[in-house]
């Protein structure tokens, strides 16, 4: 399915398309112990696009994300990533994919800076410090993760992903366990780094408002298939109070809720 970015997005992100890679998920089926999670699943994501995937818990949205990074292997179908543009081919053309999980998954036995530098060339310390400063935690470089708050840990996890300058960033409900205020702050931060770096982003969330405020496009998964795929045509920065925002949120929520199973039938 061809995707067009809204005009202001194209204006804002000329170099975005050069950093990010496209993602093509074709006919993917995944089942666990005979229980189908995704069935003949297709989506195309263009380079530099920010896609939010919403759905009820257990709908397979996390599984989809995990299969993109290779943590799950589909029984059927293919997942392919596009080529990195020539001007950013520092990984020998192989796209760099990073994941941010719901829990920060920082190594408790490493201080903050070494955590950010996990799997990174030790020569790039300055780079790591810079990214840590970007997420506002420069002065915590020598602290243990245990001394940080949940929101700060997620910011470190974001820095750890960003320091590799990923072409594709997968966000698996990264803000799910944060309080409302920290969430909004983090959403802002994620949107800012996405706009400035232009990677492709896939965000899995159960929060429809979060999906609308961040994404170019919202995909709803139901019963292992795409139930809804819509471009968010609201200029950035988006304000939650706006009428268009509220109307879209209402529409998506309505779509999610109408399929609620009827409990009475069990009697």
């Amino acid at each position: 399915m061809p995707v067009t970015l809204s005009s202001n997005d194209i204006a804002a992100g000329e170099q975005r398309c050069s950093r990010g890679v496209s993602v093509a998920i074709n006919d993917v089926s995944i089942a666990f112990d005979g229980r189908t999670v995704l069935e003949n699943f297709d989506i195309e994501i263009s380079a530099g696009e920010f896609v939010a995937i919403v759905g009820r818990s257990g709908c397979g949205k996390s599984t989809l994300l995990r299969s993109v990074v290779g943590l799950e292997t589909p029984q059927n179908g293919t997942i392919s990533l596009g080529k990195v543009a020539d001007n950013v081919a520092e990984h020998h053309g192989k796209p760099d994919v990073r994941v941010m999980f719901q829990d920060s998954r920082l190594l408790p036995w490493k201080k903050i800076l070494p955590n950010v530098m996990l799997g990174l060339d030790p020569a790039l310390t300055a780079q790591a410090r810079k990214v840590l400063a970007q997420v506002g935690l420069a002065e915590r470089a020598n602290d243990w993760p245990a001394t940080l708050s949940g929101g700060q840990r997620q910011r470190v996890a974001l820095a750890r992903a960003l320091v590799h300058d990923p072409n594709l960033l997968l966000l698996d409900e990264p803000l799910g366990s944060l309080d409302a205020l920290t969430r909004i702050e983090m959403q802002q931060l994620i949107e800012d780094v996405w706009r400035s770096r232009g990677f492709t982003a896939m965000l899995v969330t159960h929060d429809v408002a979060e999906a609308i405020s961040l994404a170019d496009r919202v995909i709803l998964i139901e019963g292992g298939r795409v139930a809804f795929d819509e471009i968010v045509n609201i200029p950035r920065p988006r304000t939650r109070g706006s009428a268009r925002f509220a109307a879209l949120e209402e529409r998506i929520l309505g779509r999610v809720l109408q399929r609620r199973p009827i409990v009475e039938d069990e009697w």
């Binding site: 990074v69 990073r98 994941v99 999980f101 036995w109 602290d143 245990a146």
Partner: protein, 276 residues
């Protein structure tokens, strides 16, 4: 770390001034019972309730300690025993650690070895003393073997358990960051298993002395156990008590060492941070 300790320091003056009398009491209190016992013991010995044939007075023990250490005899025995304990620990603990890492990491190794190890584990090492004497005589290797065998199992089991209980989420995260093989081991698996491994080490250090005492008491020509048994032949109760107290001190030192290792290696873990 800086920030963390700063925060703690900012809090501590207020806490300290408020609880100062309590802190002094807390420091002194654990020693109250031993000191009282010591006084009672000395008193009982000096009024003659406690015949020195059964238990010498603390003063007699003290003077025999000074005498033995001045002649250098004591230090010779302590050195021999410590060397035995540590070399047995190094061999048994080392093999336990390696084998634990091996069986926990390779599924086929677990299938091949774990049942055997679990069977052998249930044999008390000290039950092997008759056989060991037969095999090794009362040589150094007999003591080394017994200590090594004894410390092997706690280290092995806790290493195995530690590796198996490393957070799956962290492993997954490490793989997505391109860690594999030795780097995954060094950065995630080993540090993740370390708390459990150190529990095994601490347990083994205690066991190490217990086994060595018995081994030395039964068959040795030197060492603290030999010194104690030898003193029994001549009814030198004061020397016997010196030997027994030495074991207590050495055991406590080994425990302090293990605690120190925990504090250092697990300093990232709030549960192991020193209380200062």
């Amino acid at each position: 770390m800086k920030q963390g300790t700063m925060n703690q320091r900012q809090q501590s003056p207020a806490l300290k001034t408020r609880f100062r009398p309590n802190i002094v009491a807390k420091q002194a209190l654990p020693w109250a019972v031993p000191v009282l016992l010591l006084i009672a013991w000395q008193w009982a010995a000096s009024v003659g309730i406690l015949p020195s044939r059964f238990l010498p007075s603390p003063r007699a023990v003290g003077s025999s300690f000074i005498e033995l250490s001045a002649s250098g005899e004591l230090w010779m025995h302590v050195r021999v025993s410590t060397l035995r304990a540590l070399s047995g620990f190094a061999v048994g603990g080392g093999v336990g650690l390696l084998l634990g890492l091996f069986t926990a990491s390779m599924h086929w190794a677990e299938i091949l070895l774990d049942t055997t190890i679990q069977m052998v584990r249930n044999i008390p090492p000290l039950a092997l003393i008759p056989l060991v004497i037969l095999w090794f005589g009362i040589d150094e290797s007999a003591k080394l073997f017994l200590v090594a065998l004894g410390v092997f199992f706690p280290v092995y089991i806790n290493t195995f358990h530690g590796i198996r209980s490393v957070d799956r989420g962290l492993l997954e995260m490490g793989r997505t960051y391109g860690l594999s093989g030795w780097r995954l081991y060094r950065e995630i698996i080993l540090p993740g298993a370390l708390p459990s491994i150190l529990v095994g080490v601490r347990f083994s250090l205690g066991l190490m002395w217990v086994i060595l005492i018995v081994a030395e008491t039964i068959s040795a020509r030197s060492g603290i156990g030999y010194m104690t048994m030898n003193a029994r032949e001549f009814m030198q109760t004061d020397v016997m008590v010196v030997g027994i107290l030495l074991y207590a001190i050495l055991g406590k030192l080994a425990d302090l060492l293990a605690k120190g290792l925990e504090r250092y290696w697990l300093r990232w873990n709030p549960a192991y941070q020193s209380a200062q």
